[in-house]
Symmetry: C2
């Protein structure tokens, strides 16, 4: 029988809960709603990810090719989170008929991302849009051992790949009329889904739970905590803040790293001592950083220097446009 996974709080997750009918999954569905992707018999993993102009990006910020690249990266990142090997993408695309959007450039970006992870485009749908450029990328992969969100246990360590908050810092710059740093811009425009990194971690049997960072570390760690029935305590001083973010001031940098979202890095949970951070960095050229600890209880907490731990809360559903980019 398939099973479903408990989600963290927030409007999006309430809706997804209601959309799914718990307990009624057909036998060919091994994992249903609530994880990064659905898992089907034969180890097929399927996930879908919307990228909408005015919500997830503005066309003034990045090139059409980058729009396609990052939409595909976001979808493939869900496969990475389950340690799946990408196989194919289906791309639904709607563009206004005024010719403003170079749809072929968007496709070029999608293909470039697909090739970078050994996948290809195997289908899709194209339509006119009444306004915004709309992409929905379906990522399909295979996993021998799909990693879920529900295996974290008290005493485990919490890790993240890469650095956090760069994409959010870029959005912050654009929405205030400034140009982002090259590093922040690249974090937004050309995220690297951590496919090979995830597979390596899982082959070492190091990972108890994993998720990709799309909503921000605080919100995504909350999904692991809720699914696993544990609490997660993050340590502010350990967070790998994106390069150059310190210039924004510590509070802003911390906020972007915790809540900014769209990092498309991995957050994963292991037994203590299971990760060789130096070896990981040498192999992939990507940092891996221990950011916290799993405990009894519930929720995601932040400890910072000497103050008491404070609970981090957030909702779901909205993206950048909350900040006024409509």
């Amino acid at each position: 029988m398939g099973r479903t996974v408990r989600l963290g709080r927030g409007g999006e997750f309430d809706l997804i809960r209601r959309l799914a009918e718990e307990g009624s999954l057909p036998p060919e569905v091994m994992i249903g709603p609530g994880d990064d992707g659905a898992v089907l018999a034969g180890g097929w993993v399927v996930s879908t990810d919307l990228s909408i102009e005015g919500v997830h990006f503005e066309r003034a910020w990045i090139t059409n090719e980058e729009v396609g690249f990052r939409a595909a990266a976001a979808a493939v990142s869900d496969l990475a989170a389950m340690a799946a090997d990408p196989v194919g993408l289906l791309v639904s695309c709607a563009a206004a008929p005024n010719g403003e959007v170079d749809v072929e450039a968007v496709q070029t970006g999608i293909r470039a991302l697909a090739q970078s992870v050994g996948a290809c485009v195997i289908g899709g749908d194209l339509s006119r849009s009444p306004g915004p450029l709309i992409l929905d990328v379906v990522a399909i992969g295979r996993a021998d051992w799909p990693v879920q969100r529900d295996g974290a246990e008290p005493g485990d360590h919490v890790w993240v790949t890469g650095r956090l908050g760069g994409a959010a810092a870029a959005v912050r710059a654009w929405t205030s009329g400034a140009a982002p740093s090259a590093t922040a811009r690249a974090a937004f425009a050309r995220p690297s889904p951590r496919v090979a990194e995830a597979r390596c971690l899982v082959e070492q049997e190091a990972v108890d739970a994993m998720i990709d960072l799309s909503d921000g570390l605080a919100g995504d760690a909350a999904h692991i905590a809720a699914a696993s029935g544990v609490s997660i305590t993050l340590e502010a001083t350990r967070l790998p803040i994106g390069e150059g973010l310190e210039g924004l001031g510590r509070d802003v940098a911390l906020d972007l790293a915790l809540h900014g979202g769209e990092d498309y890095e991995l957050c994963f949970v292991t037994d203590p001592g299971a990760v060789d951070a130096d070896g990981f960095r040498a192999r992939f050229g990507v940092e891996v950083t221990r950011v916290g600890t799993v405990g009894e209880g519930e929720g995601v907490w932040l400890v910072d220097d000497e103050g008491p731990a404070r609970r981090l809360e957030r909702g779901g559903f909205d993206h950048w446009a909350v900040e006024g980019t409509t």
Copy 2:
């Protein structure tokens, strides 16, 4: 090795061609871009279908529940076209944050359609929209013998299920400020993907090629013709025009049946004598009508009474809004 299928003419299909990279499909992909769905190892069939307010529907026309129902029906119809059994749907949904759209009602409609074909919702993505209600439904099913578009041979007969042009007649009424007939409205709002009908036909080994009617019989038959390297000649007097369409005049009715689109019926090709139309109707309560013949050559042709056969041409890409419903 996977293979791709030749598509009929039209902008959408040119773009899909370029999006796909012919000949480079991984071995786990049995059928790639160009058919109703991609087919993966293990018989999994995956298809994706956009439904966008202002392009595919207006919210003033139908209820939110019907918006969800028909979006899911359109996606599942692609599975029917390959004789696949629906298993699960992934639903990407973006709605404006002003609360105008009852997203739960949309979900109720999606669930109702899913249940009607033995499937359930296994995942998705929810987002804010900057304006239009946007749905992308990914339909996943399984087929032991997926039917493609490329098996038509000269001498074969061409059939369709149900009646044609009803959904287009409803749109025609709405866009001219009138109310559609109840039959036409139902054809638009609550299409029935022909899942059981397709499976039955394939179990009888009757079907050489099949497609679902989303773009209109003329355009969809052109895909079969192009994929199979044949011509198809339709007979105007045989077309099963939707109930009540005769009142619009014969030319209009014929145009809606050939080019209106969004019928979500099946068009299939068989050896002569392979279909028991009376038995089909008795079993499913749905008509099945022979509408034409496969020949040598290329393209889709229409013969009407005594005039010469004329070639039917159409593009792709756009939907209702071409008629001015933006």
